[in-house]
Symmetry: C2
C-alpha cells in the first residue's frame, strides 16, 4: 500500500497540532485512498478539478473551499446549475479535497507569507514576523517602484494604489489574504511606523480611508492592494514545492488560475 | 429661529419611520443648533470636514462614519495621530455629523440606488426594485460597452471585470455598496436569470469565483465591480439635490472625493 490521503493530511497538520475549530477538513473523498497524484491550488475551481482529473491526481489541496464561501453549508446552492455541475464533477471523479487554510497560516512563519516573500524575492528584507503580518525593512524605493516589482514578480497585470506613487518607502507591512481590515491594518501603521502597507484584500471603507486622511493631513503613508488570490497563490505554489520534495514518488502539480479580474 | 439639525434629521427619517437598531445617529454636534449650511458626502473625510468648515456649513450628512469603521467604538484609535487630528478638527469646529445610511437604503426605492440609476441614466431600464437590488432589462450591449457607459457617466477611471468583455447582456442585476456577498449575489443570478451583475464591493472569493466557474462551464455570465464609494456616491449627490430643493434657504453642498485607488 502506498501513501494515503490521511497520512498526507497528518503530515500537513503535524507542525501546528490538531486545531479544535477549523475550516480545514476533508470536504470530499475517502481518507484511506492511496494517493495517485496531488494538485495544489489556491482555489479549487472547476478548471482546477478538471485538471486534477486529467492528470490522474485523486487529491486536491486548496487554500479556499470549493463552493464560493468560507462555510461548508451549501443549502442555498442546491438548485443552482453551476453548483450542481461542480458537485457532480467532484462526486463522479471520487476525488478527495482537503482545505489547507488555517493550519498553513499557523506555520511559523505563516506558509502563505513565506511563499509570497519568496516569490517577491523579499525574504532578506524581513525585519519581523508577527502571527498575521510581516514587517520589511526595505531599500528606499518609491511606491511605484514597489508596485512594478510586485507586478513583475507575481506576474499580475495591475495593483490598486492609495497615495502618491512617488512616496519613498522603507518600512513596509505585508498582510496576505483578507487581512486588510481596519482593526488589523490601521494600528499596524502606527505600531511599526510603516510608510506602506501591502495587503491582499480588505474593506474599502476602512484602511484605505484611513490612508486617505493620513495623506491629506500631510503624513507619508501609502497602500498597495494586491488582490486576495494574488497575495495567497504564491504560498500554495510554495506548498506544492515542499510536497514535491517530501513525496518524490507522488506526482505533485501546482495549478494556477488566471487573475479573477481584468481592468477595463 | 431657523431650521435646526434635529428638524432636518426628522425630515430625513420620516419616510422610513424610526428604526430601533441603526448606525444612523448624530455622531457629534448639538441637535438644537440652527443649520448654517449642509455638506453632503459619501465619506466624511478630513477634506470633506475642512470643506464644510471653509464653506460655513455646520452640518455634515454622510453615508459612512468618520472613523474608518461601521462601528462607533474608537477605543483602538485613541493614540493614533490621524484619528486625533480628525477628532480635533471636528471637536474644535463644533460641526454636527449625521450618518445617513440605513434609512436612505430603506427608502422606496433605495435612495442610493435611485441616485446611481439617475447618474447612469438607466432609470427607464428598471424592471424590478427589490429591497437591496434592482433588475434592469437592458438594450442588448456588451460587457465592455456597459463598462464604458459606467466609466463615462460616473466619471471613474476603471472598473474590474470578470468574464468575456464581448459577452452580450440584456438582463442585469445592480447592487450598490457592499452587497456583492455570495449569499446575496449568487442566488440573484439564477433567480432573475441575469447575464451580468454589477456591484460596488464584495468578497473576492465568493461571487467572482462563482462567475469564474459558471463561465468555465460555458454559461454566459459576467460581473462588473464598481468600487464601494463609486457605487454609492451618486446616491449622496441625489440626496444633496433633494435637500437643496426642500430647504431653499439653506446652502447645500455636495462634496465629492477622488476615487480611493489608482491603478498601477
Amino acid at each position: 500500500m502506498g501513501i494515503t490521503i490521511q497520512s498526507i493530511i497528518e503530515g500537513l497538520i503535524a507542525p501546528v497540532g490538531k486545531l479544535e475549530q477549523t475550516c480545514d477538513t476533508l470536504k470530499c473523498g475517502n481518507p484511506d485512498t492511496e494517493v495517485t497524484g496531488i494538485v495544489v491550488a489556491f482555489m479549487p475551481t472547476q478548471y482546477v478539478i478538471e485538471q486534477a482529473i486529467a492528470r490522474g491526481a485523486n487529491f486536491i489541496i486548496s487554500h479556499e473551499g470549493p463552493f464560493f464561501s468560507n462555510h461548508d453549508d451549501c443549502s442555498t446552492l442546491v438548485d443552482d446549475p453551476v453548483y450542481q455541475k461542480k458537485r457532480n464533477t467532484i462526486d463522479e471523479s471520487g476525488i478527495a479535497l482537503f482545505r489547507f487554510h488555517d493550519y498553513w497560516h499557523r506555520y511559523k512563519p505563516d506558509g502563505i507569507m513565506a511563499g509570497l516573500l519568496q516569490e517577491l524575492n523579499w525574504t532578506s528584507f524581513v525585519q519581523e514576523h508577527y502571527a498575521a503580518s510581516t514587517v520589511l525593512q526595505f531599500p528606499k524605493e518609491t511606491v511605484r517602484g514597489i508596485a512594478e516589482q510586485i507586478k513583475n514578480r507575481l506576474g499580475i497585470q495591475y495593483v490598486r494604489v492609495q497615495g502618491d506613487p512617488d512616496t519613498v518607502c522603507s518600512k513596509i507591512g505585508l498582510l496576505a489574504g483578507y487581512r486588510g481590515l481596519g482593526q488589523r491594518a490601521i494600528p499596524f501603521f502606527e505600531q511599526d511606523q510603516l510608510d506602506l502597507i501591502i495587503y491582499g484584500e480588505g474593506p474599502e471603507w476602512e484602511t484605505p480611508e484611513y490612508v486617505r486622511d493620513a495623506i491629506y493631513q500631510g503624513k507619508h503613508k501609502a497602500l498597495i492592494v494586491l488582490g486576495h488570490a494574488e497575495s495567497e497563490e504564491p504560498g500554495m505554489k510554495h506548498l506544492a514545492n515542499l510536497l514535491s520534495n517530501k513525496y518524490s514518488e507522488i506526482p505533485v502539480f501546482y495549478v494556477k488560475e488566471r487573475s479573477i479580474f481584468q481592468i477595463i
